[in-house]
């Protein structure tokens, strides 16, 4: 077991190192002066000179790289060209909002997707099967920012005769007029911890539409994987034997099929982290939620290179950790994987 973990770790480290090299080269490959890129609109002739000296842009490449790595290892991922805030601080501030959103999105996708996938698999070959899979694809083929916008229009603002559907808020994580305290930064949790039930409920309402919009992406994957897993398992001999022996359909489903089907869903959660983040960049902006996604959106539109660089590295790190955890868990559950 330990060897497995060590081996997986050993594979992760070169990836991160390689990524840092790529990012290092990237800033220097951008059109224009790398010092200007790091200063943004705060660049003046003098500041450009200072930064060039500070970062050693005039020194040989390998020397620069070691300075860069040195800073990274000390936790200095650079600072935003817009606000001067350290990237690490921006990441810490944005993390709770995005984690909340991603969690709810996955919850939505799982709660809706697993039953749908099962339903489709049990009706395999019938039009209902195709229809279910087709419907789950809707979320994926509609660009997420457009879907978010439409959801806002219908379920927040309300259009014409369907005005009564407009019950949700359009922007932010919590109503501005509610004075709530946020010890952890996870607003719903905070409301519960401080017993400010109003605040918790309000934060929850603000999560519904964004979670649905974002959740349509993993929804399609979960439906498909559950369906495939269920089909897989129900095709197995042991299930057919059980059926032949006359065991109730329900028993078979509950005990064997679903449990085996849940496994792949859990393992793909880690893979979907990247998708969720890309979706969050757009969803958080449309819903004005202040998280990693909207920070990235601002960094992209304002070309805030230190933030982009730092976030990509931080995200890769996070991603690697998630995948490692998932793989280890899977290795614990399924011994075959450990041996491969």
């Amino acid at each position: 077991m330990l060897r497995f973990v060590v081996r997986r770790l050993a594979l992760t480290v070169p990836v991160l190192v390689g990524l840092s090299i790529l990012l290092f080269l990237w800033v220097r490959a951008l059109p224009g002066d790398p010092a200007r890129a790091l200063l943004g609109q705060r660049a003046t002739a003098e500041s450009v000179e200072n930064v060039t000296r500070l970062y050693g842009f005039d020194r040989p490449l390998h020397e620069q790289y070691f300075t860069y790595i040195g800073a990274l290892l000390q936790g200095n991922f650079g600072s935003s060209t817009q606000t001067g805030q350290p990237v690490v601080e921006l990441f810490k501030n944005g993390f709770p909002a995005t984690a909340e959103l991603a969690f709810c999105a996955l919850l939505f996708a799982a709660v809706l997707g697993i039953p749908l996938g099962y339903f489709a698999a049990r009706r395999h070959g019938t039009p209902l099967d195709n229809l279910t899979v087709g419907a789950s694809l809707m979320g994926v083929v509609i660009p997420v920012f457009f879907l978010a916008y439409l959801l806002k229009l219908v379920f927040a603002i309300g259009i014409g005769p369907l005005d009564f559907l407009g019950v949700f808020p359009t922007a932010g994580r919590q109503d501005a007029r509610i004075a709530a305290t946020h010890p952890t930064g996870f607003y719903v949790l905070d409301g519960i911890l401080t017993r400010e039930w109003d605040a918790a409920w309000n934060a929850l309402k603000h999560l519904v539409l964004p979670a649905v919009a974002l959740g349509t992406i993993p929804l399609a994957i979960i439906v498909r994987i559950t369906r495939a897993a269920v089909l897989d398992v129900t095709g197995e001999d042991y299930v057919r034997t059980a059926e032949a022996k006359g065991l109730l359909q329900g028993t078979i489903s509950r005990r064997h099929v679903l449990r085996n089907a849940l496994l792949p869903v859990v393992t793909t959660v880690g893979l979907q982290a990247g998708l969720l983040l890309s979706g969050a960049v757009l969803t958080e902006t449309v819903f004005a939620r202040n998280g990693l996604g909207s920070t990235l959106f601002n960094a992209i539109t304002l070309l805030d290179y230190p933030v982009l660089q730092g976030f990509i590295l931080a995200i890769a790190l996070m991603y690697a950790l998630i995948n490692l955890t998932v793989d280890v868990l899977y290795g614990v559950i399924d011994p075959r994987v450990r041996v491969s």
């Binding site: 200063l39 109503d175 501005a176």
Partner: protein, 554 residues
């Protein structure tokens, strides 16, 4: 059917949850938590305003962006304010002032009933503390990106020896005399800028305001700027959730009209559509810079639109580093090719005025006597032929990802002008750049651009603040060397009084119109939108908008 399939049960659960959520839709208009503080006259409530970006830091001496100033205007005040709804100076912390005949000494008589938020008294000593603080900035604090306004107005610091500020004397407790070493006719108007707000000396010292750490690329503002901004204004700083919102509370001991609302919240919503939708849904009470296309629909839906008198200019600049553009006939041809009315109807808010020169008509020096270039396509083609430029190909730069008060929809404006230029035979190569830093770098900091769109909102009512900024010296943006114009502007800047300046600037405007370095297009009308429950908002062309008169009814 005996078995209830899991999926049906799940669907039922989801349905129940959805119904529950819908049923529990509490009103979005929660009343503010604080009850009316002093007396019972305050109507109370919370005013929520949406900003397009987070402030950079809350010390206005270190800021140059509109959103930081918006918040700063509530917390801080300067010696001079503006007449409501205009850009003209009016007494604020200074009740009156007198300038000596040589224009070098200005004596301010201060109000005697003003307190800072930390309880410290406002007096002449505090005034001099602030002026000297700015003057004595060194190192990092002198760089343009941190102290833009001081550098621009006062042109130097204690250790550079180039500044026009000489000294500040506290004659008595409420009389302060500022001495300059060169006359500056716009001095009083400049003092209305938020960058020159009076800040509490005690607070500045206690929280080490000038301790701006780090380096150029890694500026860390001190705790003063992020947690303890202390001024004299009608609102006190309460909290700042970075990236999300700034919360201000009413200052009950304000010397002027105490605010009606208990709290003001400035919420950051960077997407323009999201701001509008938040207003439509009742989550905010107002926002700024309404997109031209939304004005009518918001009004129809019952929201209030407040227009600001335009104090800006939108222009098409022509880079004379490009050889064809150095020929005045080509520039005149382009001027004739543009139909300004069409540009306004296609891309700017209704009511925007056509511009004939590079300043709005409220600024001294504006004159109707300038050469204008009527929309005349035949004349344009004639001039191009004369200049031998029938097959002219030009690079046309425009910015993306931005909406400015003077340029609300750059893409639409670009398309409108491009069509007009193509109609007279000019071939356009579009070049788009992200507003910051690329577009600004390219059009103001390099030679690599052709014709481009840009503009300017005036900071205060001073002619130099418009044409001096654009044409005061040779720049990469315009790419020309016109010593006559430069020296005329240099001279005009130094004229001691407004009355004497006016004819000088009128001449300058005529000179510019004849030289055609660019085409002034319009003065777009910037608008704010408010919920029906809001009243009392006083719009200002220079955004001197303080919210102590705002009420939010139930």
């Amino acid at each position: 059917m005996r078995r209830t399939s899991r999926s049906v049960r799940a669907a039922a659960l989801l349905g129940a949850v959805a119904v529950a959520l819908a049923g529990c839709a509490d009103s979005d208009r929660d009343n503010g938590a604080g009850a009316g503080g002093g007396g019972g006259e305050q109507s109370g409530g919370t005013f929520v305003f949406a900003a397009s970006s987070d402030p950079v830091a809350l010390d206005p001496a270190f800021a140059s962006d509109g959103e930081t100033f918006r918040v700063a205007r509530q917390i801080f005040e300067g010696l001079v304010g503006t007449e409501p709804g205009t850009a003209d100076p009016a007494p604020l912390l200074a009740e009156e002032w007198e300038t000596s005949d040589d224009g070098l000494e200005t004596t301010f008589t201060l109000r005697e009933d003003v307190q800072f938020h930390d309880g410290e008294p406002f007096n002449a000593e505090a005034v001099c503390f602030n002026f000297d603080r700015w003057h004595n900035w060194t190192g990092l604090l002198q760089s343009e990106n941190i102290t833009y306004y001081y550098g621009k107005i006062f042109r130097g610091y204690a250790d550079t020896g180039t500044g026009i500020y000489e000294s500040c004397e506290a004659e008595d407790e409420f009389t302060a005399t500022i001495t300059l070493n060169a006359p500056f006719a716009g001095f009083i108007q400049a003092m209305s800028l938020p960058a020159f707000s009076m800040q509490s000396p005690a607070a500045l010292e206690e929280h080490d305001a000038d301790n701006v750490q780090g380096t150029e690329d890694d500026v860390r503002f001190s705790a003063y700027a992020t947690e303890h901004p202390t001024g004299t204004g009608p609102f006190v700083f309460e909290s700042w959730e970075r990236g999300q919102q700034v919360t201000l509370a009413r200052f009950d001991d304000y010397w002027g009209e105490v605010a009606q609302i208990d709290r003001a919240i400035v919420r950051t919503i960077s997407d323009g559509n999201a701001r509008r939708q938040a207003l439509q849904n009742g989550e905010i009470d107002g926002y700024d810079l309404v997109a031209p296309g939304d004005l009518q629909s918001l009004e129809d839906a019952g929201f209030q639109i407040e227009n600001r008198a335009p104090f800006n200019i939108l222009y098409l600049a022509m880079n004379q580093a490009v050889p064809e553009l150095a020929d005045i006939r080509v520039r005149q041809a382009i001027a004739h090719a543009i139909d300004k009315d069409a540009v306004i109807s296609q891309s700017l808010p209704e009511g925007s005025e056509v511009a004939t020169q590079f300043m709005p008509d409220t600024v001294a020096g504006h004159t109707d006597d300038v050469t204008t270039y009527e929309f005349d396509q035949d004349r344009a083609r004639e001039l191009l032929a004369e200049a031998g430029a029938e097959n002219l190909t030009l690079q046309f730069n425009y910015p993306t990802g931005v909406s400015r008060p003077y340029m609300p929809t750059p893409e639409e404006t670009f398309v409108a002008i491009r069509s007009q230029l193509e109609a007279v035979g000019i071939t356009i190569t579009p070049v788009a750049d992200q507003w910051s830093p690329n577009y600004l770098d390219r059009v103001t900091g390099s030679e690599d651009h052709g014709i481009h769109l840009l503009g300017w909102t005036g900071d205060y009512n001073d002619s130099d603040n418009f044409v001096g900024v654009f044409f005061g010296k040779q720049t990469d943006e315009w790419g020309f060397d016109n010593p006559e114009l430069f020296s005329a502007l240099e001279e005009a800047r130094g004229i001691a009084t407004r009355e004497d300046q006016t004819p000088a600037y009128e001449e300058i405007n005529k000179m510019i119109a004849d030289f055609v370095p660019g085409v002034p297009i319009a003065h777009p009308v910037p608008s704010l939108a408010f919920a029906p429950e809001v009243s009392g908002y006083q719009a200002s062309p220079v955004q001197d908008e303080v919210w102590n008169t705002v009420t939010v009814s139930e």
